[in-house]
Symmetry: C2
Subunit: 332 residues, 2 copies
């Protein structure tokens, strides 16, 4: 009874320069659960149609995901199709068939209502709030969203943001929501609504953390994307980022004996999200994630540490200062 | 007699959403020298016209820059004008008047030929090579270039790359030169020509180091851009990045008692370049750099260290592993 996720379960048709799949398992809640279940128990709330393949249900159950909250409705499962060109940071949506997802109303089974960690994947912010009305005493709530809700449900989204601890957005969404080009100012605007932290996802350019309270030069954190020679399919990168992020936070928080999550734990969670997303994009659909282990994640986490480490010179340019003192005529 | 730079000295007219300047001091060699002179002595080779304002000469001399290699030719100084919109990573060139720069042939004064650190700013690769023919025994050579030379002087540029230790390029240039979208593959292609290291500048998305030799997971390094709330004018960011980078390398190398530059020194040099560039873009033209000190750089360097630090959890998700062992039915 640890991590609750509410979001889409879908069948995705995807084209990239490196291949294509048709009606493969997809959806934000699916990607999230597949990863987060490596870290902790996950309960899923979503909806599929009566056409949803049994093998996908079996896969989720096999991961230990609690699917008592996965509704099976009369009709067809949500389908999405999209195409990526070489610039994998941009996706062209070819078709969105909401089907049973159009009338989805998240209803939490009684056993879900004690969930401690809640991830509200990208759905209508009014539905996100209805989930919060159903959980009793969550310890940590995170929310993702998309440009559609920023455009058409701005007020509801603003209300939802006031009720969560951590917001995940991509770069364009943060700018769009805050109506400013400066990411720093966008972050201030979003954090002023109440969240403790904002994680801005930049795709191939990494992720940035802005956190409320204290000296901003001590709370800001930047993680690059994990370098990959070849990306097969970026679909699900953001949702599995969230899965690694929340999975690790739930784990770290459990270890913190009820204490508050500190900035370092959030940084570590961002690195987990980054590493997990790097595996996701190496295969189509969820293919690479099916065999992913915590040990795989550890190896890339440790490499990532090496990719980003540097020292502060000590003493600070001492020799240089001496050189300059020996040349008193120089105006530096 | 330490750092030699060869490149443009220009008068720039710049428009950004935050203001404009007309015929302000600019040019790659100017930006580079202004910064590198904080770290070590700099000798400049370039050309200006007879209209070049005396105050700019005085400024460079005041920085301790040796300008015996700055030719004054009959005619007008190189002029460039450009415009940036809110997306400061892209610049629209409005006009390029090469003037005396069109017939520039770098000639090193005798005293320059013992230069130890050579920075070949963005000029015709044939001229870059003519500079290398004139220096006697440089310890370290770095080269910058641009899309024009990649298009029109590809063979000469390839020859020049074979003769240098460190290559600086921006992201699009590296892809264009290597004819691949993958930055990792582009880096391999460039390093195969002989350079020890390639630094790919990504503007607001930071800089990446690829280095030859050894385990790539130990030589790759990523530095984000320093976060700024407001950018006035991005002009010169790349050239001052190079100035901080080479300035620090010359300093560190001098301290290394003739030893080889290690990967950590190059990482630190990249952070110096990043920090220096962050000051550059806060003002128009060279305005912010006129009062920049090594102490200003130190403060941002230390903040940068905080922005990018995280720990590897130890023990690695031990609690989590225990949780999972307690649930033997889960398939993880």
């Amino acid at each position: 009874m640890s991590i609750l996720v509410v979001g889409s379960v879908a069948l995705d048709s995807i084209q990239t320069p490196f291949g294509r799949v048709r009606e493969a398992l997809g959806g934000a809640a699916t990607y999230f659960s597949t990863v987060a279940s490596l870290y902790d128990t996950v309960s899923l709330v979503g909806v599929v149609g009566s056409d949803f393949p049994r093998e996908h249900i079996d896969f989720l159950v096999g991961r230990g995901v609690d699917i008592r909250g996965l509704q099976v409705a009369a009709g067809k499962t949500f389908r999405w199709s999209g195409r990526y060109d070489y610039d994998m940071n941009h996706c062209e949506t070819l078709a969105t068939e909401l089907n049973v997802f159009a009338t989805f109303r998240p209803t939490l089974p009684e056993q879900y209502r004690d969930a401690e960690y809640v991830f509200l994947a990208n759905i209508d912010p009014e539905l996100q709030m209805s989930v919060l009305d159903q959980v009793r005493s969550p310890r940590l709530i995170a929310l993702d969203t998309m440009n559609y809700w920023i455009d058409y449900k701005h007020d509801a989204l603003t209300e939802a943001l006031k009720r969560v601890d951590i917001v995940l957005m991509n770069e364009a969404e943060a700018r769009q929501f805050a109506k400013t080009f400066s990411l720093i100012r966008a972050a201030h605007k979003i954090l002023e609504l109440g969240p403790k932290a904002l994680v801005i996802k930049k795709g191939e350019y990494g992720a940035v953390l802005f956190a409320n309270g204290g000296d901003p030069t001590r709370t800001y954190f930047f993680a690059p994307a994990y370098p990959l020679e070849k990306i097969a399919d970026p679909t699900g990168a953001g949702d599995t980022f969230a899965g690694g992020f929340m999975g690790y936070l739930a784990h770290a928080h459990a270890g913190a004996a009820g204490g508050a999550l500190d900035n370092m734990a959030i940084r570590q969670a961002i690195v987990h999200g980054t590493v997990v997303a790097s595996f996701t994009v190496e295969g189509f659909s969820l293919d690479r994630l099916r065999t992913l282990s915590l040990d795989d994640i550890r190896r890339r986490y440790e490499a990532f540490k090496r990719f980003t480490s540097f020292e502060v010179p000590c003493p600070w340019l001492g020799t240089c200062e001496r050189l300059k003192q020996a040349q008193p005529g120089r105006d530096a």
